[in-house]
């Protein structure tokens, strides 16, 4: 018997290489097309002036709406430390209004951020509870400074409430300073602050000073750097906090003959890490599982596609004898339609799975209010109205004063019915 069919060309005999080439090309195109975070319209670069308020406002104007609250937090506290209280008020007011309207406000963006193919960072930033607490805390200080202790108290209560849904009961509403100031404001308003003071005292082993309604200078001191967020886990799905103990452990303020010691009343590192898990962690965890599963399915399917493609054409050798009785070996190639279909199907499944895996956005949102302090402290003084020379000193863990942080300044005590509020920070901005 003579095999009259021409031998298959080398091109037809090696479809797996071509198929892989096609698959790779298609995958590249598709991955490019599946970029879920589009490039934002280019904004003109913000020209730096060196003035943190001007630069901060320029950044704010250029920022996408989803980052607005974050930039307002940062700029608000910068303005506060620079003594630009009007700017600080405006920024915190806007940020708090946005947080307050959250329940029915930017829910669409939030809903999208829970989707498989949208990153958590695409939601409108409002911050983790400790960040929101600090926005209310700073706004409260500004209200107090303006002679509105009841509105300040409202802020401290809102802040404490924000911390009331921690996972563990032990860590719910456990800011010492917020309860203490709630009571102090009540005492200043001729109310009864004893309940709030008792609550504050329960939260700390350090004896808290009794309220002195006659104290007219309220000093809020902060030091250290606050928690830093990072994404952990195989797919960055876990929000974690990097907490480094502050070099500064305490401070003193000396005005005339009076010296007030400032030990940490609250620690934001502690507050950040004691919240417990978030609902969003669960969502991100599910995303990570989806990503891993689809990636594995994609691997298996693509390997299967390659194997099937290799079996589309099967070579068979046999011995044939021609008319003259000569024997020779011929190679035949049979095409398997089943293998071809399987290769195509597995290839498509593999591509789609890899595509889905690559497009799944699992990273935790690590945008953070990065100029927060670590430790918060408070002290009250009775001072006569007028300018007073003051010395602020910070101390390290050995109780040694850190000379480069010592600051002499003039404390202007207001000659009015409202309290003088002094906000002193180790951080410059």
């Amino acid at each position: 018997m003579t095999d009259s069919r021409p031998a298959p060309s080398s091109r037809e005999r090696r479809p797996s290489f071509v198929a892989l080439l096609a698959l790779s090309t298609a995958a590249l195109l598709m991955f490019a097309g599946c970029e879920t975070v589009p490039d934002r319209p280019k904004r003109p670069p913000v020209a730096r002036t060196g003035d943190p308020i001007i630069d901060g406002n320029a950044d704010l104007a250029a920022a996408p709406d989803k980052d607005r609250v974050l930039l307002e937090y940062r700029l608000g506290v910068t303005a506060l430390r620079l003594g630009n209280f009007e700017v600080a008020k405006a920024k915190f007011d806007d940020a708090i209004a946005r947080i307050g309207g959250l329940i029915s406000g930017p829910a669409d963006a939030a809903q999208r951020s829970r989707g498989l193919f949208t990153a958590e960072r695409e939601k409108v930033f409002i911050g983790e509870p400790y960040e929101r607490v600090m926005a209310f805390y700073y706004r409260g200080l500004l209200y107090w400074r303006d002679g509105q202790p009841d509105n300040a108290r409202a802020c401290f209560r809102s802040a404490q409430l924000l911390d009331s849904d921690a996972e563990s009961d032990t860590y719910k509403s456990d800011y010492v300073l917020l309860d203490y100031l709630d009571g102090l404001a009540s005492a200043k308003l001729a109310g009864d602050g004893s309940d709030a003071l008792a609550r504050a005292q329960k939260l700390t082993k350090t004896p808290l000073p009794p309220y002195d309604p006659e104290a007219n200078v309220l000093c809020f001191v902060e030091f250290g750097r606050g928690p830093r967020k990072y994404a952990a886990g195989e797919n960055g799905e876990l929000l974690r906090f990097r907490t480094e103990p502050s070099r500064i452990r305490s401070a003193t303020l000396t005005v005339g003959e009076q010296t007030v010691n400032f030990l940490p009343w609250d620690n934001l590192n502690f507050q950040a890490v004691t919240r417990g898990g978030r609902v969003m962690d669960h969502v991100l965890g599910n995303k990570a599982v989806f990503k891993k599963t689809t990636d594995t399915i994609g691997d298996v399917a693509l390997v299967g596609a390659v194997v099937a493609a290799n079996n589309i054409h099967q070579e068979r050798r046999r011995v044939v004898t021609d008319e003259k009785g000569r024997r020779r070996i011929v190679t035949e190639s049979d095409k398997s339609d089943g293998a071809e279909t399987a290769a195509i199907a597995l290839g498509i499944v593999g591509i789609l799975s890899k595509l889905a895996a690559a497009a799944t956005q699992t990273h935790a949102d690590v945008r953070m209010w990065d100029n927060l302090p670590q430790a918060l402290s408070f002290g009250a003084l009775r001072l006569a109205p007028g300018d007073q020379a003051a010395l602020l000193q910070f101390y390290d863990g050995n109780g040694q004063a850190v000379p480069d942080l010592a600051r002499r300044f003039t404390l202007a005590v207001a000659d009015s019915v409202k309290d003088t509020v002094v906000i002193l920070s180790e951080l410059k901005r």
């Binding site: 037809e12 298609a26 598709m30 309207g101 329940i103 809903q111 509105n151 849904d165 591509i351």
Partner: protein, 211 residues
């Protein structure tokens, strides 16, 4: 069609729409052209809401108080027009707010709807008024009456209020209850001649992305 061609065709067909989707620069941006300004009534619930004190609460509470005050005998059947002084509202809630806005709205409602049955004394202007009187007494400015005669009116009643709150926050959501109480106190006897309240409770739950 050979195998290679089929692969190319299928893969290309799948890639093209996705590829072009990626070219959409405003993908994922809601309302890229913005949202037109929507004018709303102040007593209407807006599309941005929280559990705090909002304009619709202010309107409903102050409307209720103004109606209630006008109905009391001390105002409705007074022989002489009662003079009322507003005292600041005490905010005992967790919401920082402009407290004066409540009394301002009650006052304007009463002034516009009470047809002169009650008058308010402007104590916010006292410093300015005293300075003006002093200028008149010193002869630096003219006076249409004897500046040495005290004509500043005394109050018959004080109108004030208090906002009390109760809040809960759990994994199920946030709940805020606010009690708005206002009272009219007789300046002579310290008797509370009128008091009324309004209660508003709101609950909500943030998106899971924020929990």
């Amino acid at each position: 069609m050979n195998t290679t061609s089929r692969f190319f065709t299928l893969a290309s067909a799948a890639a093209i729409p996705v590829f072009f989707t990626g070219c959409e620069t405003t993908q994922g941006v809601k309302n890229p052209s913005g949202v037109a300004v929507t004018e709303m009534r102040p007593d209407e619930k807006g599309f941005v809401q929280g559990t705090g004190v909002e304009s619709q609460d202010l309107v409903s509470v102050t409307d209720k108080m103004a109606r209630s005050i006008l109905g009391i005998p001390e105002i409705a059947r007074a022989q002489t027009k009662p003079r009322v002084v507003l005292e600041p509202v005490v905010n005992n809630t967790r919401f920082p707010l402009n407290k004066d806005i409540f009394l301002t709205r009650i006052r304007t409602q009463l002034n516009s709807k009470a047809a002169g049955r009650v008058s308010f004394l402007d104590r916010e202007m006292m410093k300015t008024l005293e300075r003006e009187r002093a200028l008149k007494q010193s002869g630096q400015v003219t006076a249409s009456s004897d500046p040495n005669v005290v004509e500043f009116r005394g109050a018959d009643y004080f109108l004030t209020g208090k906002l009390e709150g109760m809040s809960t926050r759990t994994s199920q959501g946030t709940s805020d209850y606010v009690l708005y109480s206002f009272r009219l106190t007789d300046a002579r006897t310290s008797e509370i001649v009128w008091e009324d309240l309004a209660e508003i409770k709101k609950q909500g739950l943030e998106d899971a992305a924020y929990r």
